[in-house]
């Protein structure tokens, strides 16, 4: 299963981004193969509609779970209809590496 984590930078040492739609990078972690893919978010500077555009981006990668600090109001119904699980994790100090370690357990 693929998991998307919002990240502030493009390495595993970066911390989790508290926003979903306008995060800097998406780290897509595959729980089966252990592979990691880092995608820059093209909607970072978007005026509006960043959330739905980001949903489209991650869902096109086959992601089934998204971990982020917060989700906007337009996102919930979209993700519910796409059957993507949302995990709200409010620990801005955590690095992507430590979150992947938690997922491995």
């Amino acid at each position: 299963m693929k998991v998307a984590i919002t990240s502030t930078g493009n390495s595993l040492e970066s911390t989790i981004d508290p926003r979903f739609g306008r995060c800097s990078f998406f780290v897509i972690y595959d729980t089966e193969t252990g592979g990691v893919e880092i995608l820059p978010n093209p909607n970072r500077e978007a005026q509006d509609g960043a959330g739905p555009a980001s949903v489209q981006l991650v869902s096109s990668r086959g992601v089934k779970k998204i971990i982020s600090g917060e989700f906007g109001v337009k996102i919930k119904s979209l993700l519910d209809s796409l059957k993507i699980q949302m995990v709200v994790y409010k620990e801005p100090e955590k690095t992507i590496q430590s979150i992947i370690e938690m997922l491995k357990k």
Binding site: R19, G21, R22, D48, A50, G51, K65, I67, F71, G72, V73, K74, I75, K76, S77, L78, L79, D80, S81, L82, K83, I84, Q85, M86, V87, V88, Y89, K90, E91, I99, M102, L103, K105
Partner: protein, 194 residues
């Protein structure tokens, strides 16, 4: 210009059955046909006639406007009446909907999560795998309700002038007395954090 796309209706749970079949009819009624009741129409019947909500309350639950809810309700009743009178079977399917999911919280890592797949029971935390999870109603209310509430105040986006909103007077038609800009409802400004 193309019309606005239909707003997704929130349905809390899928119905326990997928339809109804008539029985005891004569030969010709058996081939009477089928009425397709949409999920949103099932939900509106459930809310208004089973839970005894009024249309205003039900519209908030389904996240649509009150007039839209009344239209869905009228359609639902018309379909059910058609099935009863002409002996058609009812199949519940389709519609512009999403199934609302419950929110849970994990006491081990402190995260919040939902489970959009209705038929999977939530037993462990999707992040840390701990089983110390509990249902959390407040989170759901909080997230669902934020964008439906309208602030009582109109505000000028240019200079920050505020005044109390008068019902029936659209804020965007009002002019700011300080800088002559158009006013808007206060919480519309805060929506950019999505």
């Amino acid at each position: 210009m193309s019309p606005r796309p239909t707003r997704l209706r929130r349905v809390s749970n899928p119905p326990v059955i997928s339809g109804f079949k008539p029985y005891g009819g004569k030969e010709q009624t058996e081939k009477a046909g089928t009425v397709f009741l949409h999920f949103e129409e099932y939900e509106v019947i459930r809310l208004c006639d089973y839970e005894h909500m009024n249309h205003h309350e039900a519209s908030k639950v389904m996240d649509v406007s009150r007039p839209t809810l009344t239209r869905i309700y009228a359609k639902a009743r018309a379909k059910i009446a058609e099935a009863l009178v002409t002996g058609k079977q009812i199949i519940i399917e389709g519609g512009k909907i999403y199934f609302d999911s419950d929110w849970h919280t994990c006491n081990s890592c402190g995260c919040y999560f939902n489970q959009p797949e209705k038929n999977i029971e939530v037993l462990i935390c999707p992040l840390c795998g701990s089983d110390k999870i509990e249902n959390c109603e407040a989170m759901n209310e909080d997230m669902a309700g934020t964008h439906r509430q309208c602030s009582e105040k109109c505000v000028c986006p240019g200079c920050g002038y505020e005044k109390l909103h008068e019902p029936g007077q659209p804020c965007k038609e009002q002019v700011c007395p300080v800088c002559n800009g158009r006013l808007m409802r206060k919480n519309n400004l805060l929506r950019k954090d999505i």
